[in-house]
């Protein structure tokens, strides 16, 4: 009989976890979420997205090329390849929620996600170097140089919400950090769904069962003699790797299996039609990891290649790449909405899953000398799903140079008495959304209560 996977994991990690707990801030021990049926997807748009093209557009009839010298804003939609005038702005079904030309299916009135999503405009990111800015978003704390000063928010949330899932924190396509939290809360990295499938599958040249049993007995003895934390972590990770294979999860990520369920998923996530790019596979992976009870937090790379400093890349590729990412997120939201959650009639996974779409920073409001856009501190973010009060736009950028405006955190409106919103506000808000009011992540910012459904 196979060892129960959860017991296996518990045994596997116990020796590594317990010493780690001792160095946790004492406040973490006291923090207990009041909402425990919440799941998270962090969808990363890699390279720094152009908010003018989707989340924070401007009317090109007002912000004309002739007015750039006075407004400092250059939508330049007419330079984008393959667009007609009528494509420039996408008015959603929500009053005041206008998108740029590449929001994709998310604003489709038939699909109808607009009333479930919240836009946060006019954020300040504090860094315009990719790695630093990315680590800042992921951790909610500004790095010291490039060195992170806290765990990923996903790691923290996974830790707070418990270890009942086999892979509490799945991270695909970007880094994950764990500073002082138990080993089991660390992000399990996989650059693609294929790699995750391989990681969860026995090797094609795997040992026979009697070889494997003897080998694991050998390593169990070595683990028992481990004296340093590093040695304990090594054997703990080894046991987790074995336990994941034993748990027979691989099939959920075998996109080439050809079975009916997987074929339906491939169609839903647009992986064969090309409407979602690699983001479609990533979103499919997130959907499976959540709805099959495998993960609590999933971080994915929804779109890639957005670092468009050159005019050619910005005109031809940037927008379509963003659109593929948003299409993937739209498919994910639809799938979660169509998947029943628990025994409550009518309840669905989207009600329990918070999806956060982000990029490390924004791009300049004016084109650079090459016709592309350079990095910019000012940014936008989008959230939808469980715990999020949808159908609203929070904050704003100014009509002069697209600068950040202070926001009243309770109402989401621009207010001179408000605060400039950054990554630490978002991180604190996510903790608040599961009922943790203490600043257990040391974010030193207030939550944006206007963003939350039950605030």
């Amino acid at each position: 009989m196979k060892t129960n996977r959860r017991d296996f994991l518990r045994i596997a990690t116990a020796s590594a976890v317990l010493p780690s707990l001792g160095i946790l801030p004492s406040i973490l021990h006291a923090a207990t979420p009041t909402i425990t049926d919440r799941y998270f997807v962090f969808a990363y748009f890699s390279g720094g997205w152009d908010a003018l093209l989707a989340l924070d557009p401007r009317d090109p009839d007002i912000f004309t090329p002739a007015a750039v010298s006075t407004t400092g804003i250059q939508p330049a939609y007419d330079r984008l390849r393959g667009l007609e005038d009528e494509d420039y702005l996408d008015n959603s079904t929500v009053d005041g929620m206008t998108f740029g030309p590449y929001i994709g299916d998310l604003a489709d009135p038939i699909i109808g996600h607009a009333n479930k999503l919240a836009l946060i405009r006019g954020m300040t990111m504090e860094a315009v170097a990719h790695q630093v800015a990315r680590r800042h978003v992921l951790t909610g704390i500004r790095p010291a140089g490039t060195a992170v000063r806290g765990s990923s928010v996903a790691t923290l949330l996974a830790y707070l919400l418990g270890e009942s899932e086999p892979i509490p924190n799945l991270v695909a396509g970007l880094s994950s950090f764990n500073i002082g939290h138990p080993l089991w809360a660390s992000g399990l990295p996989a650059s693609s769904i294929d790699d995750l499938y391989k990681a969860l599958s026995p090797s094609e040249t795997d040992l026979m069962e009697n070889q494997r049993d003897a080998l694991e007995a050998f390593f169990a003895k070595q683990a028992g003699q481990a004296s340093t934390q590093l040695e304990k972590d090594i054997y703990g990770n080894r046991n987790i790797a074995r336990a994941l294979i034993e748990s027979d999860l691989a099939g959920y990520f075998n996109v080439d299996s050809g079975d009916d369920e997987m074929l339906a998923l491939r169609e839903r996530f647009g992986v064969d039609s090309g409407t979602t790019g690699d983001g479609g596979y990533m979103a499919l992976m997130a959907a499976q990891a959540l709805t099959k009870g495998i993960s609590r937090c999933v971080t994915i790379k929804a779109a890639d290649g957005l670092d468009s400093h050159q005019g050619g890349a910005w005109e031809a590729d940037h927008g379509p790449s963003m659109r593929e990412g948003f299409n993937a997120i739209s498919a994910l939201a639809t799938h979660l909405e169509d998947t029943p959650f628990g025994d409550e009639p009518g309840d669905n996974w989207l009600n329990h899953t918070t999806i956060m779409c982000f990029s490390e920073f924004g791009r300049g409001a004016e084109l650079n000398a090459n016709g592309g856009r350079d990095h910019n501190l000012i940014n936008a973010m989008m959230m939808l799903g469980g715990g999020i009060k949808g159908g609203q736009v929070l904050g704003a950028t100014t009509d002069l140079g697209m600068m950040a405006s202070p926001m009243d955190l309770a109402t989401g409106t621009v207010s001179p008495m408000g605060e400039l919103v950054g990554n630490n506000h978002i991180a604190r808000t996510l903790l608040h959304s599961i009922g943790i009011e203490e600043d257990v992540g040391d974010f030193r910012a207030n939550p944006i209560t206007a963003l939350l459904e039950d605030a």
């Binding site: 880094s175 990295p189 990681a199 040249t205 026979m208 050998f218 590093l230 090594i234």
Partner: protein, 204 residues
């Protein structure tokens, strides 16, 4: 002040010694020699205490290939180590400028896969240097231990003369697998996998 007054006014006069007087030296009692006993001296402190590092993916790949006389994991031209490089945290200098060198779950999973494939290929290889004994099917304790020492030397760089309790563990592993499979090749392959996936190989 009171102390000064007391010193100035009270106390016996010092005895005045005549000039040229010398005192007899005090004879010290004999000191018995204390025996040191048979306590062993403590070992020398380590000359360095740096944190152990994990090999990079390239180091692991190259080491395994050299140790086994060129056996690659996966396709010879496109090693699986390179296929899984991103998942294993190898820097691409675009998204990632630092290489992950932690002994992570993913690293150990794929190392296990690589070791399984490599060891199976190595033992079957023509003119393989796998064995350090003439009779590779020998079950004699001395031969088994000699071969374990040889494999440790080749894979983990441990001296053939080193005495370590882990040698007993490898021997137990060999015996157990042999008892269950009746095959020395399978038993040796398992020992080989154990050595490649042990931190003695990939941490330094």
């Amino acid at each position: 002040m009171i102390l000064f007054l007391a010193l100035a006014c009270g106390g016996p006069d010092p005895v005045t010694k005549p000039p040229g007087h010398t005192e007899e030296p005090t004879v010290l009692p004999e000191v018995s020699v204390i025996g040191w006993g048979s306590v062993e001296e403590p070992p020398d402190p380590p000359t360095h205490t740096r944190q152990l590092k994990r090999m990079t993916v390239a180091q692991v790949r190259d080491s395994m290939e050299r140790i086994t006389d060129g056996i690659s994991w996966g396709d010879e031209r496109d090693s699986d180590w390179d296929v899984y490089a991103e998942t294993l945290g190898v820097a691409d200098y675009q998204l990632r400028v630092e290489t992950d060198r932690s002994p992570s779950v993913m690293f150990q999973k794929f190392l296990d896969d690589a070791a399984g494939a490599t060891c199976a290929g190595w033992i079957e290889m023509e003119d393989s240097q796998f064995h350090s004994i003439d009779d590779s099917s020998s079950l004699e304790k001395a031969d088994v231990r000699t071969n374990i020492a040889g494999l440790r030397w080749k894979i983990q760089g441990k001296s053939r003369d080193s005495v370590d309790s882990i040698i007993d563990d490898y021997e137990t592993l060999f015996v157990k697998v042999h008892q269950r499979t009746d095959s020395t090749d399978i038993a040796w392959t398992t020992v080989c996998v154990a050595m490649f996936t042990h931190p003695d190989f990939f941490m330094y």
